[in-house]
Subunit: 205 residues, 2 copies
């Protein structure tokens, strides 16, 4: 993982994306970008590993990553993130405890990074503190809502229904992610997903 200062074009993309949460003034943005660096990941390169404390939160400019755990020697994929989204071993990053899972590039990826210490510095900087707290709040609330939906789906839906939702609402995941990872993501085995797909071919709801 290489770290470089970002160029103006990529920073503009980042600024646009963050407007989903907060809008920075020119002055604030000038201070903010001093803490941003770029990085890239080759396919299968790791962004986070079990046992490590996450030092960075990333913004995916291009490419994608997958989150996975290892259980009984087997990789189990829990999630994916694509360009335009944030990536981090959040719990580890936030609590400063060793992470319990891995994050790996699914496709070659370019990232913008902010380190934990830089983020703390911004949260303590008189001219940035308020806006950064707000940014942090809205970001966490946004992902909280996503997680809430995800948990609901595990409790109220069958694996087959979860797959159908994926087909109708998140086709991009299906197109960019190998099927055995999607199976884990749905909470089932690849073999079981293959059977569900076959069933749906002959009774497409």
């Amino acid at each position: 993982m290489i770290k470089l200062p970002p160029d103006p074009a990529t920073l503009l993309v980042f600024r646009k994306a963050l407007e989903k949460f907060v809008t920075f003034s020119e002055e604030e943005w000038r201070l903010f970008v001093q803490h941003v660096s770029t990085s890239s990941l080759k396919k299968k390169e790791h962004f986070a590993r079990e046992g490590e404390i996450a030092s960075y939160i990333g913004f995916i400019l291009t490419g994608s990553v997958r989150y996975y755990h290892i259980k009984d020697g087997e990789e189990i994929t829990g999630y994916f993130s694509f360009d335009g989204e944030l990536v981090s071993s959040y719990k580890s990053f936030l609590t400063r405890q060793p992470g319990t899972g891995y994050i790996q590039a699914l496709e070659p990826a370019t990232l913008l990074l902010i380190s934990y210490h830089d983020l703390q510095n911004m949260l303590n900087h008189p001219l940035l503190a308020y806006k950064m707290e707000r940014f942090g709040r809205l970001t966490a609330e946004y992902y909280l809502c996503c997680y809430e939906e995800r948990i609901s789906s595990f409790i109220t839906q069958t694996p087959e229904e979860r797959y159908q939702d994926l087909v109708s609402k998140e086709r991009e995941i299906l197109q960019r992610v190998p099927q055995h990872y999607i199976a884990n993501f749905l909470g089932i085995t690849p073999v079981s997903l293959s059977r569900i797909r076959k069933r749906l071919l002959f009774q497409p709801s």
Copy 2:
């Protein structure tokens, strides 16, 4: 649901509990408590209903609540919260969209409430804004970590393993919550949970 101004003793409990997230100065607390009211729920009384926009976030002083959805006419329990925890249809509260589930008192409950509009007022109040943004950020981050663990458990563990975790780590839930709700919470049917319990009786790991 009745709303009353809170008495000093309960406010002190609240203040202690919130110190997990932020510490208010005397001045800040004085302003803060002006926006807090009390309420109580009889057993089975609803705090939130499907289709309603959540107007309040609550802090549970005593008692407990359960979160549930209705699917095909059946109640499916997704979560519980106990005294000392926050309660809200978060997504609805945060996004101002109709909620998709119900929240009901599992035991008779007393709550402290903050309305959405009062919270917005505090977020806009010059002397409170910063502290409230911080409070919101840390709260959301805290629950984000909880949700992350919960999702992991659905992907990496069998229902039986999830039940064993509950036995070893969250015995309080087992003691205060009827078993058929716990079954839903684990993502299985009550019959299946009964079978798992029987299995574990004869092979207690």
